[in-house]
């Protein structure tokens, strides 16, 4: 059997040419002799836990040193709480996912935000502030919502990346206005001092991506020039 398009000889029984995918007429109904079995190797990636182990040991040592210094010098936790919770926050953000073979973004992004919220709450309580519920919590909650939605869309929706990124950028613009609004409520600052600038930048970039996504010729031209 030969491929009518490429002119190469094909194995008996193949359904299409492996080179140009032209369907092959198989009048004798022969079946293809498979040169390789169907079994796939187990997908292996390096576990590479060395970094996680090293960071865990370093974090534990840093916490111990902080505790020792604080209790030796002041007989109390003093500023050690900031340091210890800071290390814990860094650990949750950067080290915790390394323990997992396939860290799931839709789980870790909300967890990271929760850890950040806890740290900020500690600072608020420690400094006697009254800004957590009116400013920090809503800002972190909005950020968590936005980034989790982005991660889920990227993971579960096939294609449409330009629309997802475009929409995300536009929402980021809206988010900056929201941040300034919460700032205004909590600290009684004037509205629209800075957020309109960032909103314009984010919104413009997002809109550009949406337009590129909607016009196939523009999209392919951009792909050609910017592939990497």
């Amino acid at each position: 059997m030969y491929c009518v398009k490429c002119g190469v000889k094909l194995q008996p029984g193949v359904e299409s040419c492996p080179l140009c995918h032209t369907p092959v007429w198989n009048p004798e109904g022969k079946t293809e002799e498979k040169r390789y079995p169907a079994s796939l190797p187990e997908r292996t990636r390096e576990a590479d836990l060395s970094g996680a182990v090293a960071f865990t040991i370093l974090s534990a040592v840093a916490i111990l040193v902080t505790l020792t210094v604080c209790f030796k010098l002041y007989g109390a936790l003093a500023w050690g709480g900031y340091v210890i919770l800071g290390i814990a926050l860094f650990y949750v953000l950067a080290v915790l996912p390394r323990w997992f073979r396939h860290p799931r973004g839709e789980v870790f992004v909300p967890v990271d935000h929760a850890a950040a919220a806890a740290y900020v709450l500690y600072i608020c309580l420690k400094t006697g502030g009254h800004w957590f519920l009116s400013f920090a919590f809503p800002v972190i909650a909005c950020s968590a919502l936005l980034s989790t939605a982005m991660v889920c869309l990227l993971k579960y929706v096939r294609g449409g990346r330009l629309f997802i990124f475009g929409g995300f950028l536009m929402l980021c613009g809206g988010f900056t206005v929201l941040v300034e609004f919460f700032e205004h409520l909590s600290f009684h600052t004037a509205m629209f001092r800075w957020s309109l600038y960032s909103f314009t930048g984010f919104f413009g970039a997002g809109l550009f991506l949406l337009i590129v996504g909607m016009i196939p010729s523009l999209r392919s031209s951009m792909e050609k020039r910017f592939f990497f």
Binding site: G7, V8, C20, Y36, S39, T44, R45
Partner: protein, 421 residues
């Protein structure tokens, strides 16, 4: 106490450093026999080869300053092949063995981490394994010589030497090279598609001799033409890049070495499409003459020195292996593979002893995709047939289509096999 470890050879040093979490540099050689493989006999044959090929039965270990190879206590267990060749070799696997022996139907395959040996060394190992298998299975007596090693003798020291160190010039050649066009496509994340083109060796030789060039130069010219077409279809002329084919040169012939470790260097040969169009004749002549001019003992000695000299610097030798890995990674990323579009690694024509020839239907050689480009090509001729193996880690088969179609246009019959389902 006998020494049970080896330094990595000069070429092998780079491969552990540049391995990624889902990519490692390995190659495969396989022999297809005239009957289904018996795994128990193959296992016995594999065990029998251990004393003769100690540098193949090793594990990869990390020292304070360098990686090294240590004799493996773990048996290399033969196992069935997978749906695609050269699946990822993880560091956990390399800590057990750097070698795989696989079988499927009539085929014995050996997959080897590149720090152990190159294609020539690997094919000697495979041919000796197949010879031992046939001896055990059919009671044949296969005389050693050529591609079959003598199992009754211990390995001579010159088979285990790092021949790079002996043949480096006092002054290093420059590594500077213009970046070439980069092949690309939709990645397939793990699966490697292998397209094998079976071509009558005589037809290839006739075509090459008619043009007064070598078979390697002919194949490289056809490949360069295919890549030039691919690039022209997607990039305006002014933004095009040189199209260069990376051709490994077996240095054993140049320096009379008998080493079974790595002893080859690559040359990037090709043309710059911005200077004008090239016919296939012109491409063939250019690549052939570039190859002839570059693959001389003097020039290669300078290139060897460029690899050997850095590893002899005291400061570098005393640098911890982790830092070396980082530096080598960055250097490799910047210049390691940027000079060529893809490899064409031609092992040439392999002759087997007469008693084996009756049982061995086909020999093949396959190199995996490189770290930064998705296609590669490897060639081996045996028994009047040349197997051209094109492997890719992307979905698109356009390069294979263009390459094999051009061979057909030259009047060379091509039979295609593919592992894709």
């Amino acid at each position: 106490m006998a020494k049970n470890w080896y330094r990595l050879d000069t070429a092998g040093l780079i491969f552990p450093a540049i391995a990624r979490r889902d990519w490692s540099n390995a190659f495969r050689v396989s022999a297809t026999l005239d009957e289904p493989i018996d795994p128990d006999t193959l296992q016995r044959a594999a065990d029998d080869l251990r004393p003769r090929f100690p540098s193949f039965y090793v594990t990869l270990r990390k020292g304070a300053f360098w990686y090294y190879l240590e004799h493996s206590s773990a048996r290399v267990l033969v196992r069935q092949d997978y749906a695609y060749p050269l699946s990822f070799m993880s560091s956990a696997e390399l800590k057990q063995n750097c070698l795989r022996i696989l079988y499927y139907q009539n085929r014995i395959a050996v997959e080897c981490f590149h720090s152990l040996s190159d294609g020539r060394g690997g094919s000697v190992f495979l041919c000796t394994l197949a010879a031992r298998y046939l001896e055990l299975r059919h009671g044949l007596t296969i005389p050693p010589g050529g591609m079959v090693a003598d199992l009754s003798q211990p390995p001579p020291p010159e088979e285990l030497e790092d021949s790079f160190l002996k043949n480096a010039a006092p002054v290093a050649a420059s590594r500077r090279e213009e970046k070439s066009y980069r092949l690309h496509g939709t990645p397939e994340h793990g699966f490697k598609t292998l397209t094998t083109g079976l071509v009558p060796t005589q037809a290839l030789l006739d075509e090459a001799h008619r043009r007064r060039i070598s078979v390697t130069a002919l194949l490289a010219a056809v490949m360069a033409r295919s890549i030039l077409q691919l690039q022209a279809a997607e990039t305006p002329l002014r933004r095009q890049r040189p199209v260069k084919i990376t051709i490994p040169v077996d240095l054993r012939r140049l320096y009379g070495s008998r080493t079974m470790r790595n002893f080859s260097l690559v040359l990037n040969l090709g043309v710059d499409p911005r200077y004008g169009d090239y016919s296939l004749d012109e491409l063939g002549r250019i690549i052939y003459h570039q190859l002839q001019a570059a693959a001389t003992p003097q020039n290669m000695a300078g290139m060897i020195a460029a690899n050997v000299q850095p590893q002899q610097l005291t400061v570098l030798r005393l640098t911890p292996v982790g830092v070396k890995n980082f530096v080598m990674n960055q250097v490799y990323r910047a210049s390691g593979e940027s000079g060529g579009c893809l490899n064409i690694s031609n092992l040439g024509n392999v002759e087997l002893p007469e008693p084996m020839r009756r049982h061995v239907r086909r020999l093949e050689f396959i190199i995996g995709p490189q770290r930064s480009y998705p296609n590669n090509c490897s060639v081996l001729s045996y028994g009047g047939t040349t197997a051209i193996n094109m492997i890719r880690s992307i979905r698109e088969s356009e390069l294979e289509r263009l390459f094999f179609s051009h061979l057909v246009e030259l009047g060379i019959p091509v039979e295609i096999e593919c592992n894709r389902r």
